[in-house]
């Protein structure tokens, strides 16, 4: 009777093998080959693509990607925590509030990014209000096409991925624990810091992984909100496969990105397990 159940795995296994592992092997192979003049790859086998990663130019992009992702993740955590805490204790309105958190997913991320661009550009709504209605500034503020705009876009885009796992852990938190903390003399801030924060660590770790990983490999947001000026790993990879026509190098950085993600998951994931 074991076979039928094993067969349920077949469709998933087929998809993963043919559309994930095989392409990944191809990428791995490409990264050790030499570049063709018009894209593609040629022999001989070489480690040159990996050596090029250590070029200060690329290391700078790598470093920038890491800190932008880290800053965005931290901002998401700081914004999402009170929100998730509020929703977890909102009683009957929980469902409504959770649906509101997920409401942005009803339209495409691309459209929402364009909407942000319309808001933030020199002639956009924000600058128009500041310039013409309130007369707070004399010239338009540089709100778009810089690193700040990229971080804003990432925080906006990935905030729900932080809110949901945090909500899941905070919702399970026994409200009596907060009563107990107050009862033992802890004012609300101390109770949150000493009881709620430590107990929601698994949710925080899950949320940070869910936000940090896509932020690290972000491509659309830096491209549109950063105006191509804030280059992150994702943009670098895209560039290698298109205009630069250096497929082996593109493959090498793709694998580097994957290695980074696995490393982060390993470190944070282990910490999460320890706490559980």
């Amino acid at each position: 009777m074991k076979t039928p159940r094993t067969w349920f795995l077949a469709p998933g296994a087929f998809v993963m093998l043919s559309l994930f592992f095989l392409p990944l092997l191809i990428v791995l192979a490409y990264s050790f080959l030499s570049r063709g003049a018009y894209g593609g790859v040629l022999p001989p086998w070489t480690l040159e693509s990996y050596a090029r990663i250590f070029d200060p130019l690329y290391l700078a992009i790598l470093w920038r990607s890491i800190w932008i992702a880290a800053v965005s993740t931290t901002l998401c955590l700081v914004l999402a925590f009170p929100l998730a805490f509020y929703i977890a204790r909102a009683g009957a309105r929980k469902t409504l509030l959770l649906n509101l958190v997920m409401l942005p997913f009803w339209t495409s991320f691309l459209i929402r990014t364009y909407a942000w661009m319309f808001l933030l550009r020199d002639t956009g709504l924000v600058n128009t209000l500041l310039l013409q209605s309130f007369h707070i500034v004399r010239s338009p503020l540089p709100l778009l096409f810089n690193t700040g705009a990229v971080i804003l876009g990432l925080v906006y885009g990935y905030l729900p991925f932080m809110v949901l796992p945090l909500y899941a852990t905070l919702e399970k938190l026994d409200p009596a624990l907060l009563d107990a903390a107050a009862d033992l003399g802890a004012p609300p801030t101390v109770a949150v810091w000493r009881i709620v924060v430590p107990l929601s660590r698994p949710g925080m770790i899950a949320g940070c992984l869910l936000v940090f990983i896509p932020c690290l490999g972000a491509y659309l947001t830096p491209d549109l909100m950063g105006g191509g000026k804030t280059v992150m790993i994702g943009n670098l990879i895209q560039n290698q496969f298109t205009s630069a026509r250096d497929w082996p190098f593109g493959a090498a950085i793709s694998l580097l990105l994957m290695a980074l993600v696995l490393l982060v998951m390993r470190v944070l994931g282990n910490k999460g397990e320890e706490l559980l």
Partner: protein
């Protein structure tokens, strides 16, 4: 809730008892400061604590499910309150924690986490965590209900002895009338948000002021408008000499309860009566005519 007014003396073991939903837990939460009354007030040492947040009140609660902090060790749980109350000296905190844990016989379990100890031990940690603060009143919200029957009886004795040793006033909330009667100096019986009666256990058991109190605290036979407890009813075949109260009845059935027997009989006026008698005195057969009798002092008319 309305008209819930009572006063707990220093060092008194006071119980609030009533069926679930009668408002006893709410009363406790009002005193602890988790909820604010819409009217009325809570006085602590003669001073109103109106508007004072829970974390400033000099009372402490033992929660129904203990509410131990799952990420802190037993010792850290007990130290939590001391750390909050500006007890800075590490040595003195450690000393007081050790003393509190000794008091509840938990020495040696300091570094365990709550999920690594038994239910009874968790109960003791919750007690130590509150007692270490030496509150004016310790509020206990059905603290024994999560324990199994045997442990519950043991903990009952221990609670009583803890209360005597520490001299802290205990406000004990329970739905178990036996617990309330056996532990308390005084008992308050609540029903549907109202306080029905306050008194010592013998007072409320023997002279209940309302029908509800009478029936909540134990079995009652309602005979000719008066209440009589089953254990006050005597049964005999022959007419007793000059009984204060007596009635003729027919035996219907008997229920064996281990330490005693409940003899069910029907009076001539049709009312039913249960008499609690010793096993060896019970040789009555169903259908047999018997005489029931009791003392006037054992009657109550709520």
């Amino acid at each position: 809730m309305d008209g819930v007014s009572f006063c707990i003396g220093r060092g008194e073991f006071f119980s609030l008892v009533g069926p679930s939903g009668c408002g006893k837990t709410t009363t406790l939460r009002l005193i602890a400061g988790f909820e604010e009354p819409t009217s009325g007030q809570v006085l602590l040492d003669g001073r109103s604590v109106e508007g004072m947040p829970a974390y400033r009140r000099d009372v402490s609660t033992v929660f129904q499910n203990y509410a131990l902090f799952p990420h802190l060790t037993v010792a850290r749980n007990v130290a939590f309150g001391l750390e909050r109350r500006g007890q800075t000296g590490k040595a003195s905190i450690a000393e007081r924690v050790a003393k509190a844990l000794d008091l509840v016989h938990l020495g040696g379990k300091e570094s365990r986490l709550p999920h690594q100890i038994s239910g009874g031990e968790r109960q003791r940690v919750a007690l130590a965590r509150s007692l270490v603060l030496e509150p004016k009143v310790l509020l206990l919200d059905e603290p024994l209900s999560a324990l199994d029957a045997k442990l519950r009886k043991e903990m009952r004795q221990e609670l009583k002895s803890l209360q005597r040793r520490t001299g802290i006033a205990f406000l004990f909330v329970t739905h178990d009338q036996e617990e309330a009667l056996s532990l308390s100096d005084r008992v308050a019986i609540m029903h549907r948000g109202l306080l029905e009666q306050v008194g010592t256990p013998p007072e409320v058991y023997r002279s209940p002021k309302t029908r509800f109190v009478a029936e909540f605290l134990g079995d009652v036979n309602w005979l000719r408008g008066a209440g009589v407890r089953p254990e006050a009813v005597r049964v005999s075949r022959t007419m007793p000499i000059a009984p204060e109260r007596a009635a003729a009845a027919v035996v219907e059935s008997q229920t064996f309860l281990g330490n005693c027997v409940h003899l069910h009989s029907k009076l001539d006026d049709g009312s039913l009566c249960v008499a609690e008698i010793a096993q060896r005195e019970c040789d009555f057969q169903p259908g047999e005519r018997v005489h029931l009798w009791w003392r006037a002092a054992d009657e109550f008319r709520p």
